[in-house]
């Protein structure tokens, strides 16, 4: 029998861990590296490299090096979020057959789960080479605020990679699990998770071995990448000011400045100020090479990133008030995600909660460790011990009603697994089909929410209007994924249900891609 692992499939970096002798340990590659860039680089022909090697390719072949793909997973092509990604990256973004965002590299279009599958398969190989055993199953983490589409797409990625996905769990919940809190004291904790691409806050009630999520909220478009972008923008402005050369339209120069911004950001964790030197960025009017030499202090950077940090507190307000608590009633605050190393973030979080945040575990590794613990719990029987996770659905699930409004069926923060039913009547005589649009989000207007899909009930029995009643059951499973089932109330028979307008890959498509994936020799 092989081992089961936990994989933190991050926007910027991924980590794999497993439980060994009762302790969650992060698995390193042969070079000793524990954190792997979520980068996938395409070379000529069929060659694909992932992780550190892919990241090295970024500076000379940015158009073939895909990063931050997680920002696009489960998203529609026509959305503000996708526009923002397009401005940030050098590779192409294309529209898929279901209106979803895809990646275009070297003239070939890839579904996002395919890109994530490369990262997952890489992490699996890291785990197998570190332990010498095969990986049987994995718990994969996602941001708590991920919707059904994003979770389903993550599951598809696992399927494509040939990985048995035991469970999708939320990153903050995983982190809480890794911290343990086995002191059996009943307490409320908040997990502040600021990663590369997303921000999540979850409020949990921990009672011994029971981890009960009370509320969760997040912003799937706020993370370390945004910090890099604002710092890089500042560098671009500085360069224009001191040298008169504007590189804002120069992809290669912007990539270099983004990297410099990221390095500077990391260096500022331990230093008050850093020198930034990036030579040979562009040429001036005379054809002489120009670069950028400047000094960044914590104070300057803080001025630019403070609005981003403030945005996280709006999300915190939302989650804490949804839990019926105030920041002062939170007993401990856990810091998760690489961005929480940043002293300004720590300080601001400390002020907000009015207590020193807990961060004795490595914020980059703690999510993977928690996932490994959950993988262990799901695969090994224990009568007494073993934590139980009670998670919630992060967004309200509803159906569209007359006038473009949404009728909520499963409110946000409902414990999962759960289900709700809704009975529909036919509106016309001898109506054969009913069309139902399902949404996730907090707005009362359908158009402001994310449409999960459109379901068509067909083959209804012919009858005068109002006589045929169809009961639809919406179930959310422990992965946070929505399953829909419909039955004729009169006859008790299942009604045919087709999913249209879902941005997810169909089962056939996943299978086809999986076969191609296998052919790559992974």
């Amino acid at each position: 029998m092989g081992i089961s692992v936990g994989i933190d499939l991050g926007t910027s970096n991924s980590v794999v861990a497993t439980v060994r002798d009762g302790v969650a340990v992060v698995l390193a590659d042969p070079e000793g590296r524990r954190i792997h860039p979520s980068y996938v680089a395409f070379g000529y022909g069929h060659s694909v490299v992932v992780g550190h090697r892919a990241r090295q390719q970024l500076s000379y072949a940015p158009e073939n090096t895909v990063f931050s793909a997680k920002r696009l997973i489960g998203r529609r092509y026509r959305s503000d979020e996708v526009d923002r990604v397009r401005r940030m990256v050098s590779w192409g973004v294309a529209e898929g057959p279901h209106g979803e965002a895809r990646v275009r590299v070297q003239g070939k279009v890839y579904a996002i789960p395919e890109i994530s599958a490369h990262v997952l398969s890489h992490m699996k190989k890291v785990a197998e080479s570190a332990t010498g055993e095969t990986v049987d199953g994995a718990v994969i983490t996602v941001p708590a605020y991920f919707n059904d589409q994003q979770r389903q797409a993550t599951r598809d990625a696992a399927t494509i990679a040939g990985l048995n996905c035991l469970r999708i769990i939320n990153e903050p919940t995983a982190a809480a699990l890794a911290y343990g809190f086995n002191q059996s004291k009943r307490q409320h904790i908040a997990v502040y998770d600021l990663g590369g691409g997303t921000f999540d806050i979850s409020v949990l009630r921990i009672d011994d071995d029971l981890f009960e999520v009370i509320s969760t909220s997040g912003d799937t478009f706020l993370g370390g990448d945004d910090f890099d972008t604002v710092i890089a923008d500042h560098l671009i402005a500085q360069m224009a000011e001191t040298t008169g050369v504007d590189v804002s339209g120069n992809h290669a120069a912007r990539t270099k400045l983004r990297e410099a911004a990221e390095r500077a950001k990391c260096a500022l964790t331990d230093n008050e100020a850093v020198e930034v030197k990036v030579p040979g960025l562009a040429r001036d009017a005379q054809g002489n090479p120009v670069g950028l030499t400047t000094r960044l202090t914590r104070a300057t950077v803080s001025r630019y990133v403070m609005p981003l940090i403030q945005r996280t507190f709006q999300v915190c307000d939302d989650a804490i008030s949804a839990a019926g608590l105030s920041p002062a009633q939170i007993d401990s605050v856990l810091l998760v995600g690489g961005m929480t190393r940043f002293p300004m973030v720590r300080e601001a979080v400390g002020h907000y909660f009015n207590k020193v945040a807990v961060a004795h575990l490595n914020p980059d590794e703690v999510v993977a460790q928690g996932a490994a613990i959950q993988a262990f719990n799901l695969t090994s029987f224990s009568d007494v011990s073993g934590a139980v996770l009670l998670d919630v659905t992060p967004q309200t699930l509803g159906v569209r009603t007359v006038g473009g409004f949404v009728e909520a069926l499963i409110p946000r923060n409902t414990p999962i697994p759960t289900e709700a039913t809704k009975t529909f009547h036919t509106a016309h005589d001898f109506q054969k089909t009913v069309r139902i649009q399902v949404f996730q989000g907090e707005s009362r207007m359908a158009q402001d929410n994310e449409m999960l899909g459109e379901f068509v009930l067909d083959g209804l029995r012919p009858a005068p209007r109002g006589e045929v009643k169809v009961r639809i059951t919406f179930a959310i499973n422990a992965d946070g994924i929505v399953k829909v089932h419909a039955e004729d109330v009169g006859t008790g028979k299942a009604v045919g249900l087709t999913i249209e307008a879902s941005s997810n890959m169909s089962a056939d498509e996943v299978k086809a891609v999986q076969t191609q994936f296998d052919d790559l020799g992974f």
Partner: protein, 192 residues
């Protein structure tokens, strides 16, 4: 001789699943009908520890997992209904009339009951809702200045909301009262 814990778990789930249709939420959570809200929370946590499907994931067969799911979903449902005072009241009526389960009509009625007397649900716009919730928290904590500000923010999204206006009046009066006290005392003390 002790029973194998796996076998015990399997028997428990099988038995509960068999009885599921006959169990009302109170019996499922193993609490008295007259129990307190705290008792319900504690019972939910106790039953979650015992019956959460994750605890059965290693017992191997899909059939048991599906049954465990059915049982636990109902535990969740029962908890959701009983922890909400309005839903619980409506459910108790149903129970008296011989129905074990909450239904959509009773849920809607409970929602209406709640709306009628709960300021928490007064906001009808997601943006105003955020400020409104903060305002209610401020009122609870007697931070009237913050409450006035937050209600005013909420009113910018829903200028005609009567509940907001009523609370604004209350908060402003309380603030004026508090300010008066603040003004009076230090001066008088100093003059004397």
């Amino acid at each position: 001789m002790a029973v194998d814990p796996r076998l015990r778990m399997r028997i428990e789930v099988e038995a509960l699943h068999e009885l599921l249709a006959e169990l009302d939420y109170y019996r499922l959570l193993q609490v008295e009908r007259a129990c307190s809200p705290d008792d319900i929370g504690n019972a939910f946590r106790r039953e979650s520890r015992r019956l959460h499907p994750d605890r059965m994931s290693t017992l191997g067969d899909g059939g048991l997992a599906a049954k465990a799911n059915d049982v636990y979903r109902l535990v969740n449902e029962g908890y959701r209904v009983l922890k909400d005072p309005e839903q619980r009241a409506r459910y108790d009526q149903l129970l008296a009339a011989g129905s074990n389960r909450m239904n959509d009509e009773a849920k809607d009625a409970a929602k209406a009951d709640k709306k009628a007397d709960d300021p928490e649900t007064a906001a009808t716009h997601p943006k105003s809702e955020r400020y409104w919730k903060m305002a209610l928290r401020d009122l609870k904590e007697k931070s009237y200045k913050a409450a006035v500000m937050n209600i005013k923010f909420a009113l910018t999204f829903e200028p005609t909301n009567e509940t907001f206006k009523e609370h604004l009046k209350v908060a402003e009066e309380a603030l004026a009262e508090a300010d008066k006290k603040k003004e009076k005392n230090p001066y008088k003390l100093r003059i004397m």
